[in-house]
Amino acid sequence: MTDDLAEARDRELVQRIRRGDGEAFRGLFGRYSPSAMSLARRVVRQPFLAEEIVQEAFLAVWRSPGGYDPQRGSVRSWLMGMVHHRAVDAVRREESQRRRSEESQLSDPVIQPDPADDVVDELGLPEERRAVRAALEGLPDEQRQVIELMYFDGLSQSKISDKLGLPLGTVKSRTLLGMKRLRSAIGGLPR
């Protein structure tokens, strides 16, 4: 199924959630909760905290589905954005970045084969994963590194500067260049 059709399906689910349709909520949860949990676990590295974050994010969808504005992007980006913001906030609150950063050096790499795609995903998500991974792989190493530390490890640019021993300006410029490339590769909004 194409990206646009998958997005149309997601938008229809959100519309139905706005009308209080529990089945639609169940559908959205079933479709995105495994990815949301993966993201939350990666950022906070604590399974119970990750569950709390994912649950909060989905309950926020149920309570305030009007928060989704189709003019501001796809449903999946909106949803994952809520999960990511909560996860990063949790990381900053706990001030455990140093320990987690050390752990992250031993952690799984971001880009992996995905044997679960065929089982877990439907409606274009395997294609989405391939596209996003290809876009990340297409970045120069130094740009991908700062983006991964920022997004997947929840580090601020100043923390990354300290961690890598780079001038803050270099971290900024690498991030911006990488994000511009990603925007060109995957930033198109579904219709």
Binding site: G20, F25, M80, G81, R133, Y151, F152, Q157
Partner: protein
């Protein structure tokens, strides 16, 4: 005049993936404020980098959920109407409503009535019980009814001839047990003043159903007095 967005783009890109330090967050807010809320380029940059950031999540493998987690979350949402989470500050005012609400009980064996009230197009089960909700102000326009099968999940809300609402408001149905109103469904009236909504919620037989006007984001607890209400009683 074409404004320079170089700095704003840098800050938005970094913020979208969570990397902005607090002082630069404040700088971004100042910069964007200086462009004003209608700056299309600012909005475009926020949207496009937000889209990229959200989609980065899909670089990760999905993970299996802990057994029971899905049921817990769905249960919290779909049955989310526990007194602790849904009791609004004005919850106590709902008890007098029970007495006011005129107990229009059109109960049990509502098949014929249900079909008559809801018509054939809205998929209300023919065996559903139909409760006409009483206007709480005689000047209110229109009629509002709710249909449900006692003891089974599902409430249908239907209204006709209702006054139009501003785009930022909706009608919201509440199921009130004791003093505690639990949100059921939000609906915006169509141009002809009709509404139809469904909530995956159970009516057991001793609640009051009420409809209020709420913000379009829907409310967790009523923020306005009920416009229509009716008490459910067991046959």
């Amino acid at each position: 005049m074409i404004r320079d967005h170089t700095r704003i783009e840098e800050l938005i890109a970094i913020r979208s993936i969570g990397g902005l330090d607090p002082q630069e967050q404040a700088e971004l807010e100042r910069e964007m404020a200086s462009h004003g809320p209608d700056c299309e380029e600012c909005r475009r940059l926020e949207t496009e980098y937000g889209e990229v950031a959200g989609r980065l999540a899909f670089a990760l493998d999905p993970v299996a959920l802990r057994p029971g987690f899905a049921e817990e979350t769905l249960g919290l949402a779909l049955g989310e109407r526990s007194p602790a989470s849904r009791q609004g500050p004005g919850g106590g005012r709902w008890r007098p409503l029970v007495a006011v609400a005129a107990a229009l009980v059109l109960f049990v064996g509502g098949a014929v009535l249900g079909a008559a009230v809801f018509g054939g197009g809205n998929e209300v089960p023919p065996q559903a019980t139909v409760l006409a909700l009483e206007p709480q102000d005689p000047s209110l326009l229109g009629t509002v009814t709710a249909a449900f099968t006692p003891g089974e999940p599902g409430i249908y809300l239907q209204g006709s001839g209702l006054e139009p609402l501003p785009s930022d408001q909706v009608y919201e149905l509440w199921v009130i047990e004791g003093d505690t109103p639990a949100a059921a469904v939000c609906v915006a009236p169509s141009e002809d003043g009709s509404v139809f909504g469904f909530a995956d919620k159970e009516v057991t037989g001793s609640e009051v159903l009420a409809v209020t006007v709420e913000p379009s984001t829907c409310s967790d607890a009523p923020t306005t007095p009920p416009r229509w209400a009716g008490q459910v009683t067991s046959a």
